[in-house]
Symmetry: C2
C-alpha cells in the first residue's frame, strides 16, 4: 500500500511528523506537504501560477517533499505524476483542532481528502480535538497511532473509490476513549463578531472576531461523538445537492 501524507498546517507541523512516524509500518509513505500554513484556506486548486517543489526532511529525518501550493495542490501534484508510484490512499493531518459541522467547507485538511476522492482515491482527514489547549507532542503521537490503525482497517475493507472520511479524535488518554462512532455532520453555531479598530493613522480596519463557535451535540453527530469520548468518523460526499429541496423548488414554477 502506497500512502500519500499531506496536511494544511505545513511541513513543520508536529501533527504531520507524528502521522508520518505512525504510518511507516502501514505501507510505503510519500510525504508532500505545503511549505507554510494554509489553515482556513478552503478548497483551492492553483491554476494561475506555477508551483515549486523542494526536497526536505522531517525533524526525524524522514524524506519529504514540500511545495508553495495548497493542500489540494499537494494531492493534485502527486496524483498527476510528480510521484511516480500509484497512490492507494491519501492521509491528511493531524490538524491541531477539530473539523466539525460546517468547518469542513473551510478546512484545508478535509479538502485534501476531497481532492483525493475526485481522483478516485480514498482520502482520510484526521484532526485532534482540543490539541490547541494541550499541545504536547505525546498527544499527537497517541492520536497518530490511532489514525494509523484506522487507515489499516479502512484499507482492509477495499473501500469505494470516492470515500472521504473526516476523522476527529478527542484529546484524551487512550483508556478514556470509548470507541469509534460513525457520525453525521452536526450543526455549528458561530458566534463571530466584528471588531472595529483604528490604525495609528486613524483609518479603520476590521477583525472577524468573537467567541469560538460551538456545536449542537445531537446524538449521532460529530459534536456528540467527541463530547461522549468517541473517535468521530464522518463519511463525506462531493455531491452538495440539497436533494430534498428539489421537489419544493420545482413546485415554485420559476420562469425566465
Amino acid at each position: 500500500m502506497h500512502i500519500l501524507l499531506t496536511n494544511d498546517d505545513g511541513i513543520e507541523a508536529p501533527g504531520l511528523l507524528a502521522l508520518a512516524q505512525a504510518l511507516k509500518p502501514v505501507g510505503k509513505l510519500t510525504v508532500l506537504a505545503p511549505d507554510h500554513n494554509w489553515s482556513a484556506s478552503g478548497h483551492v486548486k492553483t491554476l494561475h501560477r506555477p508551483l515549486r517543489v523542494w526536497h526536505r526532511r522531517l525533524a526525524d529525518g524522514t524524506p519529504a517533499l514540500t511545495t508553495d501550493g495548497a493542500p489540494s495542490d499537494c494531492v493534485a501534484l502527486a496524483v498527476l505524476g510528480l510521484v511516480e508510484e500509484t497512490i492507494d490512499v491519501v492521509v491528511s493531518g493531524i490538524n491541531p483542532y477539530a473539523n466539525l459541522g460546517h468547518d469542513v467547507t473551510y478546512s484545508g485538511t478535509v479538502t485534501a481528502a476531497m481532492e483525493a476522492a475526485i481522483s478516485g482515491i480514498p482520502g482520510l482527514a484526521f484532526s485532534l480535538d482540543g490539541a490547541e489547549n494541550h499541545g504536547a507532542e505525546l498527544e499527537y503521537e497517541a492520536a497518530a497511532e490511532l489514525a494509523a490503525g484506522l487507515v489499516r482497517q479502512v484499507m482492509a475493507q477495499d473501500p469505494p473509490r470516492g470515500l472521504v472520511l473526516n476523522v476527529n479524535i478527542p484529546c484524551r488518554p487512550r483508556q478514556e476513549l470509548r470507541g469509534v462512532a460513525i457520525t453525521r455532520q452536526g450543526l455549528r453555531v458561530y458566534r463571530d463578531a466584528l471588531v472595529h479598530r483604528e490604525d495609528p493613522r486613524g483609518r479603520p480596519y476590521y477583525w472577524i472576531g468573537g467567541e469560538a463557535p460551538t456545536g449542537v451535540p445531537d446524538p449521532g453527530t460529530d459534536f456528540w461523538a467527541l463530547a461522549e469520548g468517541y473517535v468521530s468518523v464522518t463519511p463525506l460526499q462531493l455531491d452538495l445537492t440539497a436533494h430534498e429541496q428539489v421537489a419544493t423548488l420545482q413546485g415554485w414554477g420559476l420562469e425566465l
Copy 2:
C-alpha cells in the same frame, strides 16, 4: 427587500456591474465585493489578519464597498454589522464561467452564497456558462436581467433560511433559452495534467494544466440543463455527510 451583492472576480468585474444595474429595481442594494480576483479561492474566512474596507463606485456611479478580504469575508463583514440594515438575501456573481459539478467546492461565487446560508440568509450564486468564449457586456446584461427575475421570484416564495441556489445561465440569446430546470450536481471529469518546465536557472517548476474539464450530462444534472438550453438552478446544502455510507461504515466494525 435589502440585497447584498458580492462576487469573487472583484469589484471591477463586468458581471458585478450588470447584476448591480439589474437588481436596483428589485430592492435596496448594498454592493460589497473583493478588491481583487479570488477565483478558485474556495471557502475562506479570514481570521488571521484584519480586513480593510474602502468606499468605491462602480463604473456607472453606483456606490459600493470593497475589501481586501475574500467573497465569504464580504458576506461575514456585512452580516456582522459593517452594513447596518438587515440583509434579506445575498446575491453573488455573475461569474464569467459556469460552476458545475465538483466546481462548487472550489468556487468563491458559490461559497459566498453558502456563507449567507450559515448566517440564516438565502444565498443565490449566478454564473454565465461560456461567457469566457463570448465576453460581450451585453450578454452579462441579459443574464443579469434573468438573474434579477429569479431573485424576485425566489424571495416571493419566503424561502427557507438556509437556501443556497447555484444558478448557471447558458450564454445564449434569450429566445433560445427553454426555461428554468431544477437540477442536481452532476459529475465533473477532470483532465488535468502536470506540465513540467524549467526556469532560466534550470530549476524545475510545475503547472497544473491539461484540457478543460468536462461533465457527464446525465438527465436532471446541471451539465444536462446547460447542454439542453435551460437555466440550471441547483439547491445546495451545507451538510456534506454521505448519509448512505453510514450503515456500510458501521458494518466495518472500526476499532481503536
